[in-house]
């Protein structure tokens, strides 16, 4: 009975939604300090390849691979961020775009390590590892009325859900703190922020590196969810996808990129004919949004409106009366 409701296909889309939310955050966090990064796909690829290669060649546990992949991406984030930040904002966009392309070129050409454009298959799969562990402890999915396949996807989905919820919680709390205020101040007026005693270099590198870590982390997870990666997964189109999640959803509040990732991951699944014209639609959407609503669909006003609706209905919303950011 339970089994009938659990369709691995939908679960897989659910997993992509969650990974895409993490990716959208990887653009949102640097953008909340006014930095436009087009390198998310590159960092994602770094994380994915690092984790995949480590788990395949050294038979390390997935968790070690994921951590290593995340850290490598973060390290490159610092390496890119520091020299670029001394300059105007446009340089960062160019450098990150170039970086993403170079990462892809390296994946294609370093065949001895990456198998070139063929890609790497047989990457340890998170779901199967979880199933294996459970079975070692004498647990059988059949006892819940689930097939192995269903259990695998269900376990991945819940694992990713917990991770994503944690990350959203993390960055929401950060945004309501001294660090978050520093980010917002830099975004609104860099010079004024600096004269108020904020070390703008430090916070900009911090935000950029957090973005790189998030993308690397999402990439590592991606590798172990799909069990197959190739350079095409981390091309410029991926960078555009990730950028559009945040631009479309909104770059003022954390709910923007989350909404963007959910909506735009489902849309091509629901409307099949759209997927062929997806990038043309994305392109037009960006142009129109920048002209009409540059802050994206979800902004502070909308969040406040929703909150007022919710509180009017008499729902107790905790005693805190903090602001939407």
């Amino acid at each position: 009975m339970l089994a009938e409701f659990i369709n691995p296909y939908y679960l897989q889309i659910g997993c992509f939604v969650l990974i895409n939310i993490i990716l959208a955050l990887s653009v949102f966090v640097p953008l909340s300090t006014g930095q436009l990064s087009l390198a998310s796909a590159g960092f994602m690829g770094l994380g994915a390849y690092t984790s995949a290669l480590l788990t395949i060649h050294f038979e390390l546990p997935i968790i070690v691979g994921v951590i290593a992949g995340t850290l490598i991406a973060g390290l490159f984030g610092i390496l890119i961020g520091v020299p670029t930040l001394r300059l105007q904002g446009v340089y960062l966009a160019i450098v990150t775009l170039g970086f993403g392309e170079v990462i892809r070129v390296v994946f294609v050409n370093w065949e001895s390590l990456t198998k070139g454009s063929v890609g790497i298959s047989g990457i340890p799969h998170i779901g199967r590892e979880i199933l294996k562990t459970f079975k070692e402890f004498g647990f059988n999915p059949q006892s819940l009325g689930l097939q192995n396949n269903q259990f695998i996807f269900l376990s991945i989905f819940f694992l990713l859900l917990v991770i994503t919820v944690f990350l959203v919680w993390f960055f929401r709390r950060q945004s309501r703190s001294r660090v978050g205020r520093a980010y917002a101040a830099i975004n609104l007026d860099e010079k004024a922020a600096e004269s108020m005693g904020i070390n703008i270099t430090y916070y900009k590198v911090l935000a950029f590196t957090q973005g790189a870590l998030l993308a690397g982390f999402a990439g590592s997870l991606y590798a172990h969810v799909l069990a197959y990666i190739s350079p095409a997964d981390f091309s410029y189109h991926r960078a555009v996808d990730i950028l559009v999640f945040t631009i479309f959803g909104g770059s003022e509040v954390i709910w923007g990129p989350i909404f963007g990732a959910i909506f735009l991951t489902f849309l091509p699944e629901v409307l099949r004919f759209i997927s062929e014209y997806r990038y043309m639609i994305y392109g037009l959407m960006i142009i129109i949004l920048m002209a009409v609503r540059p802050q994206g669909l979800i902004d502070v006003t909308i969040i406040n409106w929703i909150k007022s609706k919710v509180s009017k209905r008499g729902v107790k919303h905790g005693s805190r009366s903090e602001k939407s950011m």
């Binding site: 703190s177 660090v179 917002a184 609104l188 007026d189 004024a192 004269s195 108020m196 070390n199």
Partner: protein, 257 residues
Amino acid sequence: MVLEVKKACKNFGGLAAVSDVSFSIQKGEIFGLIGPNGAGKTTMFNLITSMFPLSSGEVIFKEENINGLKPNKITEKGICRTFQNIRLFPLMTAEENVMVGVHCRSKSGVLSSVFRTKSQRKEEEHIRSRATELLEFVGLKDFAEVSAENLAYGQQRRLEIARAMASDPNLLLLDEPAAGMNETETDDLFQLIKKIQSRGVTVLLIEHDMPLVMKLCDRIAVLNFGKKIAEGTPTEIQNNPQVIEAYLGSEEEEEYA
């Protein structure tokens, strides 16, 4: 001596915006910096706060040469400023603006912020109460939740002062705080700056409102074409022929009445 400016020069391209200006400010005084438009007053502020590097000369703050420090380090040392063309954080509330001002006097990092450690919560509470106190100090208590862009002009000016005060400065630089204010607001501002002085904060003030400057300042330096042409008490300045010449020779004459 709180601040000592020694032979400060600043050239933009071939143009000397400030040349060979020296003055020093005693602890606790209100020091005025006046002069016609384009005399180099705001440039002087930018040099003191390191927004621009000096071409030559020195700025000494509390016996320490602060040349070449980054602007945020200068704020940490105890100099904070307001801007001629108000630069608040427009989308933040008044309270948040002031809370940003406390930044360099607090230290919570990412992890303590996210996991709300005990010391972080205590610090955050302190920041909030400091903001509340300062909003009250400048008379904006009732506007804590209003976003800065929705405040009236005079309120924005006072909010900027509160934000600067939040960094606990020894020296406060005010760039034309009375610009665009009506008479009542200017009177309130006078009281406010006096209160700031009584808190032991030294004030360096750029202002075009001459009656206010004469009433407020202990000493005044006059700049013209990037050079200092006079320095002294308000009475001395008012009777200085060079100063009168500089003002009568410019479009600012009506303000000198």
